[in-house]
Symmetry: C2
Amino acid sequence: MSAADETATQSNATDGVVVVCGGVGAARLLRGFVGRVSAEQLTAIVNVGDDMDLHGLRICPDIDTITYTLADAVSPERGWGLDGESWQAMAMLEKLGGVDWFSLGDRDLGTHLYRTQRLSEGASLAAITEEIASRWELPLRMLPVTEDRLRTMVTTVDEGEISFQEYFVRRQHSVAVTSVRFDGSASSRPAAGVLEALRSARRIVIAPSNPAVSIDPVLAVPGVRDVLIERRSDVRAVSPIIGGKALKGPADRLLVELGREASALAVAEWYADVVGTLVIDTVDADAAPAIEALGVTPLVTDTIMAQPGVTESLAEILLS
Amino acid sequence: MSAADETATQSNATDGVVVVCGGVGAARLLRGFVGRVSAEQLTAIVNVGDDMDLHGLRICPDIDTITYTLADAVSPERGWGLDGESWQAMAMLEKLGGVDWFSLGDRDLGTHLYRTQRLSEGASLAAITEEIASRWELPLRMLPVTEDRLRTMVTTVDEGEISFQEYFVRRQHSVAVTSVRFDGSASSRPAAGVLEALRSARRIVIAPSNPAVSIDPVLAVPGVRDVLIERRSDVRAVSPIIGGKALKGPADRLLVELGREASALAVAEWYADVVGTLVIDTVDADAAPAIEALGVTPLVTDTIMAQPGVTESLAEILLS
């Protein structure tokens, strides 16, 4: 390797930004990085624990939420799925008495048809995800954390173990949870490029997704947590808990049900081994000393991305 | 068995009408039987040779064409698929660069989603077909000829062997064919009820579907042809060739390519071992003596079902 090559490689390595992602919260945060980080240098490593096979189709909700959001094609009302969506297939499924608790729009179905056909042809999920991202001209690289089957399973008080989507969508996350596990994680392998991206990035960001069911399944893929531990000082997370509440979804209640508390401090404790810096909301500024005492550096700022300018300032802070 | 039971069974047996079916032509003919034969006594045994697996979904074009037609839900413009259809999933598939030569409407997709999910749950195709028929309140019993994988394969001059749908839809049946075979037929078994229905029916009708690619795959399921040979005097077919032409589809050209001629007489020759009576159109009355000479009784009448009253009179003749 020549000195010039070496410099180029080092420059690559030190420019990359990797975002560890769940769905909606991650998608919104990624919007802040677009324009600040070039497409070549921005990598999203995405949870696949809430993927499911339904009606014969492979459905990857977190990948699709990020895709549709960054394509400016997401439904602004729902925050997931596509804008301009119609529901004719679902109406037929209901008429026939089929499984209808998981809403699949007609446009969205096109994505699942494409993915499932390509999988049947032997393409990898990473390749398919890249194809879809390319058709939407997305300004980033998206990698499913693993090609292997990994499924987030939730044990509930009343119904025993159910899949993540049965918990999240079918029961509208209204049932009490006693534990979470990631079926298949022990034998899963990181997808090609995942560990390399994490090792070479100048900054690793953990999105404000649900720690227990969106980020933990990514960390459960052997090798991923280890790299984060090694690179802890370069890892920044954003707390999904603001003033004791999750902006969206059941992260607050889930933390309590799993024996923690719903607070920015509890998020710091959850991530203490892998995160050097935790960005918390201004309303949680009081928690800063306790977070610091855990060995995690608190950064206090506005984090509610629905407010104008916050996504952008949050991205600046995470990159600084 | 009591004398009363025996009478009931015999009465059942002698009332039944079985129609051996392809898609569009069969669906139109079945309309004529509805009202003349009770739902309990009318059985359609349907070709599965042009079924396909695409995008992870099981698609059964002939079953669906019959379902939608008898439900009065078929698109009158296309003659297949559903009325009030939209194409949002296809538009997405096209955007993504997916396999888009087989058009799947959004409403129609609901049917394939339902079927595929039920298959994955272990339901039989016959049970699923009955469920769908029941939701549409169809006035007949519909049986796929087999639960086993049977696929009509077409050898073309230019491209070698391709699947039926690749021939029929993708190439718009515009390529020359040298032979047809039914992959899987040798090891296939008739679905539950198929042979019983054929054995007990007072009349067996072969619909004016394509003999080479729609009816032959039904007859290729071991046991089916044998029952028809035994019951030949009770089997009536309708010629799909009228004045040397097929009303729809490539039956005329296909017969020629397979070394026959496109004529009512050639249809009589094709079916001579299994059909006692062949209904031919008035324009083909000249062929009657030659058909008779084959040992097949010709019945001459109007057979173009698009004309008012013809479907009904055709049904009367087939039942008489």
